[in-house]
Subunit: 220 residues, 2 copies
DNA sequence: GTCTATATCCAGATAGAC
DNA sequence: GTCTATCTGGATATAGAC
């Protein structure tokens, strides 16, 4: 509930308590939250500053006071989901083997797909359009992260702990399967009779993905 | 090479041979091809009729002569990739078991990801934004198709030909893993040192996805 | 059927009072 | 820091000559 700070705001969007700095952070947070949703639902080109302002409950001009341009606001939204994913990957490193490490990684990514579907969609949209804004992240942080995880996977293979599979393609499969539940949530919901997945269905999704992938790499 | 009809056109976009009807089809095809690329690269909101016209080598006004609105042009683009996927699914039905059926389906979907990456991206974008234009397809054709395939999968399970997995989640995994190579091609390319996957790498991707999934469902 | 020129609208961004 | 009013560019779509 860390980011449920909208309750601290009046309907005019002014923070009602705390220091100036806190008020500023709270307003920024409200804008980022609204922007994540609008960018996810409409795409960068389809999103309008007016709509983001409406969702955040602020006049449009205030957005430009907090974020110089539409693009700088967008970039901050993309950075957020990326950092959330990076943190979730810690479980990968601390594991003693693939069953634990990859299983926990799938769990963590599925939880994020459930709790931050909009962030995931914004990321997907950004990458699909050629990563015009965060190409630098792909070439530095993401590439380093990927190579580091590939080393771990190759060690597990060498130690006979899992089948011999290409580490990159395995990682792509983990990203694809977990993020699909966020990025294509609307399609899944439609095929689920128009209703979002229930708690039980999410648990089933998690265990189904884990069981197929883990058995698929010779762990189980 | 069916759609390589741009060679029949002069630089002014006029068809140089054949009947009026043929000329019309050729121009329509050129517009659809350009539109698919531009919508994929910029999203619906970011795409402009001017840019599509430039890519197609036509004046902007001609697009409105062939397609009444930007949205109707977009809808046609989305319908195309959907129909391509539907045709590819025939291999699923004709198979005698999961090893053959699901293996062939993965092969077919991977080929489409390679040959129609832009169509796949347009579809993904459309679904991510809540399917404002093709929701009817999701609720009719796609739902029917999915339920039909689920019946086949359940039969294979009942016959002891594969492990007991939820058919829907298995289908989501097939879609996610195969389409990832189209939708996230830019990310994959970046992680591949900036180069697109080679022929050999595509073969490796296909066999890697197949081996993990098939082993994951207890086949092979 | 094809093109140039244009009408109309709406977006991002800013000025300036409070 | 917040808000109203406005500037300016660029988008969809159309009119009308050829």
């Amino acid at each position: 509930m860390k980011d449920d700070e909208s309750g601290k705001r009046t309907k005019n969007g002014q923070a009602s308590r705390g220091s100036r700095a806190e008020a500023r952070r709270a307003t920024e947070e409200a804008i980022l939250k609204a922007a994540e949703r609008v960018f996810a639902e409409a795409g960068f080109g389809g999103a309008t500053m007016q709509l983001i302002a409406d969702v955040a409950g602020l006049p449009k001009a205030n957005l430009h006071y907090y974020f110089e341009t539409k693009e700088s606001l967008y970039r901050r939204v993309v950075e957020r989901i990326f950092n959330i994913w990076l943190e979730a990957a810690d479980v990968f490193d601390e594991a003693s083997g693939p069953a634990e490490g990859i299983g926990a990684y799938i769990d963590a990514k599925m939880e994020i797909s459930r709790n931050h579907p909009n962030g995931s969609k914004v990321w997907a949209s950004e990458v699909m359009h050629g990563a015009p804004v965060i190409q630098d992240y792909l070439e530095t942080t993401l590439r380093d992260w990927t190579e580091g995880r590939a080393v771990i996977i190759r060690r597990w293979i060498a130690e006979g702990k899992m089948a011999e599979v290409d580490p990159h393609h395995l990682l792509y499969m983990l990203w694809a399967t977990t993020q699909h539940y966020a990025d294509f949530s609307h399609q899944i919901e439609t095929l689920n009779g128009g209703a979002p997945l229930s708690d039980a269905q999410w648990e089933e999704a998690k265990s189904c993905v884990k069981s197929i992938v883990l058995r698929g790499i010779g762990v189980s």
